[in-house]
């Protein structure tokens, strides 16, 4: 049975492994044929910045992991507009295709899902 699962990504990448471990869970869920959406919220919006270059800090690229999501048919990616603005980011600085939504839309996005988990 396919469930609609929303993953709320609210950890910034690199400083902690949580963001990475969240992506690992997303890729696993996709392999089991679940209908996955991802919401980048709070510091999670830092995950989708383009030009990430973590080779010198000896960590794997988070963006590279996000870039393979379409291969798993994960295409419902959302980012919160106010959280981007608050961090001085605009859509041209993003490295993956996301739908920008407002804070006021988050509540109904969560409510529409069968299951929700945040990392």
């Amino acid at each position: 049975m396919t469930n609609e699962i929303l993953i709320i990504a609210r950890s910034a990448p690199y400083g902690s492994s949580l963001a990475r471990e969240g992506i690992d869970y997303i890729l696993t869920s996709a392999a089991y044929d679940q209908d996955i959406s991802i919401l980048f919220l709070g510091d999670g919006v830092f995950q989708i910045l383009k030009d990430q270059n973590p080779a010198d800090i000896k960590l794997k690229s988070h963006l590279a992991a996000l870039e393979i999501l379409p291969l798993y048919d994960i295409e419902k990616l959302y980012a919160v507009k106010e959280d981007l603005l608050e961090r001085g980011l605009d859509i041209n600085q993003l490295g993956v295709k996301v739908t920008v939504i407002e804070r006021s839309q988050v509540d109904s996005l969560i409510d529409s899902q069968d299951k929700v988990l945040s990392f």
Binding site: G42, V106, D107, I110, D111, V116, S118
Partner: protein, 91 residues
């Protein structure tokens, strides 16, 4: 209808702020662990949503629960989880 578990202090982490930025009007908030340091935070006094705090976590920290927040034990914590469609942890 969601139950939000706040597990971090609002003075060191954006868990409370991120949660309240997007909270729905029928949602409830439960403060636990270092989340109980939010008890007198101005962000919380601004909301109308039902607010709970785990009594053993707040009293362990020497905190008193204001009248606007209901102090609960684990029994009620589990019960609240069973009564909401989604339970979201903020940490």
């Amino acid at each position: 209808m969601k139950l939000h578990l706040i597990q971090r202090s609002p003075f060191s982490n954006s868990a409370l702020k991120d949660c309240l930025n997007t909270i729905g009007e029928n949602d409830s908030v439960l403060l636990m662990q270092d989340g109980t340091y939010s008890l007198n935070h101005p962000l919380l006094t601004d909301i109308k949503n039902p607010t709970y705090a785990l009594l053993q976590d707040s009293s362990a920290r020497g905190l008193t629960t204001p009248a606007s927040t209901k102090a609960i034990e684990y029994d009620e914590f589990v019960m609240l989880c069973s009564q909401h469609k989604h339970v979201l942890s903020w940490y």
